[in-house]
């Protein structure tokens, strides 16, 4: 009972079963999404073809926040109920979330160039995304700044929760700061109204991104579990040698 941390076999079996399904679903959804987004849907009457970038930019931005929320929740579970897997889920989520945030920033700037004529615009959403990126970096840096992985995950869990509490405050102050210094940009990120033909590829891509996240999450959690097993074995060999 007491070494339940060492081999959460139940999770490994569960992951092994559903992972192929999630993989298949993700590939299928991406295929459909790309087809709808690039071929089937019309260009936007106002933004022209650049609206197609929305099909990758908006899901990335969604996932950036979705992952951070997921991370904060699993950190909360890890701290309060000391559930061993929650720690690993948060540690596994961070790089994925950071990658989505990075993508949101890159596609956002690629979107901004034709729209506003500049690679980087201090638009409220993009700026908040940039701050979120730093929160991810801080989490990951703190997570492996310790020799003992247990210490790293506990410290970064607290940081994730503190960060999570601050996200709305930062969002509010950046929005407020943006309206103060920046005349409201005419072309809002999502366009005046999302036309049905644009909505469907957007939703499909959104779900595709989510299933992709679950797929990579399962792989990374299995990696963390295996790495923990390896560390436990190495430690036991060290301490057994001492007797």
């Amino acid at each position: 009972m007491f070494h339940r941390f060492a081999n959460p076999a139940r999770f490994l079996r569960f992951a092994a079963v559903i992972q192929p399904w999630i993989a298949g679903l993700t590939v299928l959804l991406f295929a459909v999404g790309l087809y709808l987004g690039l071929l089937a849907s019309p260009a936007d009457y106002q933004q022209g073809e650049t609206v197609r970038m929305m099909y990758v930019h908006v899901p990335s931005a969604w996932m950036a926040l979705f992952c951070y929320t997921g991370m904060a929740i699993s950190c909360g579970v890890a701290l309060i109920w000391k559930h061993p897997l929650a720690d690993l889920a948060a540690k596994a989520t961070a790089p994925v979330g950071a990658s989505f945030t990075f993508l949101a920033l890159v596609t956002g700037s690629l979107w901004g160039k034709p729209m506003w004529g500049a690679w980087w615009v201090w638009d409220a959403r993009l700026t908040s995304m940039l701050v979120l990126f730093f929160l991810y970096l801080g989490y990951m840096a703190l997570n492996n700044a310790f020799d003992d992985p247990g210490r790293g995950s506990k410290a970064s869990s607290i940081l994730a929760l503190v960060g999570f509490v601050n996200v709305p405050i930062i969002k509010f102050s950046v929005d407020w700061w943006n309206t103060l210094h920046q005349p409201a940009s005419v072309v809002k990120m999502g366009g005046p109204a999302i036309h049905a033909s644009i909505l469907s590829p957007l939703l499909v891509m959104g779900v595709a991104f989510t299933t992709y996240y679950l797929w990579v999450l399962l792989i990374r959690i299995r990696r963390e579990v295996t790495a923990n097993k390896v560390r436990a074995l190495q430690m036991r060999q060290a301490s057994r040698g001492e007797q």
Binding site: F2, H3, F5, A6, D148, R231, M235, S239, E242
Partner: protein
């Protein structure tokens, strides 16, 4: 000496099937102990077997993965401040600030304790008991390791507490200081206090119970 249930048959401070998980490994499992006023518990076992970890759990620095630590049947985690008020802990490090004199160091720690009533002479008598009365006004940076350890020991004499948790207290102490320590522990126990001590010294305390941590090693795969 406050809050002692002298003569209570039920042991005051108990630990039941404790599991300690630290530094990525299970240090010990299924460990139990019981302490009653006047008793001493000697923790034995090789390095890394978890003596310090057990003392830290007893002090409340971190929670056991499983099992319970209770003080007169109430878990110590329920009210950490109350538990802190009734214990003194000597760890590996002796927190003596180099720029403060010995008395200033001791006065700081003593003022944080509830039982610190009679001020200066409690500190003076504590220093005398450990044979370092002459160091009262010496700044910390001039003290040797042995003297720092004695100042740390004087800290727990200056303000009363019923439970002493001593992690290899005799390191860096010379023969005379070790004797002073033994006497202090004997007085503490005579007054109804309790001691849990991890130590490699062979000459253990008078009628102290022993607990070999090694038998609770977790050797599971």
């Amino acid at each position: 000496m406050q809050n002692h249930h002298l003569g209570s048959s039920l042991s005051l401070f108990t630990g039941t099937d404790l599991v300690c998980f630290r530094g990525g490994r299970t240090v010990f499992a299924g460990l139990g102990f019981a302490l009653s006023p006047g008793e001493a518990l000697m923790l034995r076992g090789p390095n890394g077997s978890g003596k310090s970890s057990l003392l830290r759990l007893m002090a409340g620095l971190g929670q056991p993965l499983e099992g319970a630590l209770t003080w007169s049947d109430e878990s110590i985690a329920n009210d950490p401040e109350a538990h802190n008020a009734r214990l003194h802990y000597i760890g590996h490090a002796d927190p003596v600030k180099p720029v403060l004199t010995v008395t200033e160091n001791l006065r700081f720690w003593a003022t944080l304790r509830p039982g610190f009533g009679n001020g200066e002479d409690a500190i003076a008598s504590a220093l005398e008991k450990l044979g370092i009365g002459h160091l009262a006004d010496v700044p910390g940076r001039f003290l040797s390791a042995g003297q720092k350890r004695r100042v740390n020991l004087a800290r727990i004499l200056a303000a009363p507490a019923s439970l002493w948790l001593l992690d290899e207290p005799q390191t860096a102490l010379d023969r005379a200081a070790e004797k002073n320590l033994k006497d202090a522990i004997a007085d503490h126990r005579a007054g109804g206090g309790m001691v849990a001590i991890s130590s490699h010294a062979e000459n253990s305390l008078a009628n102290a119970r022993e607990l070999d941590i090694n038998q609770f090693r977790a050797d599971s795969p």
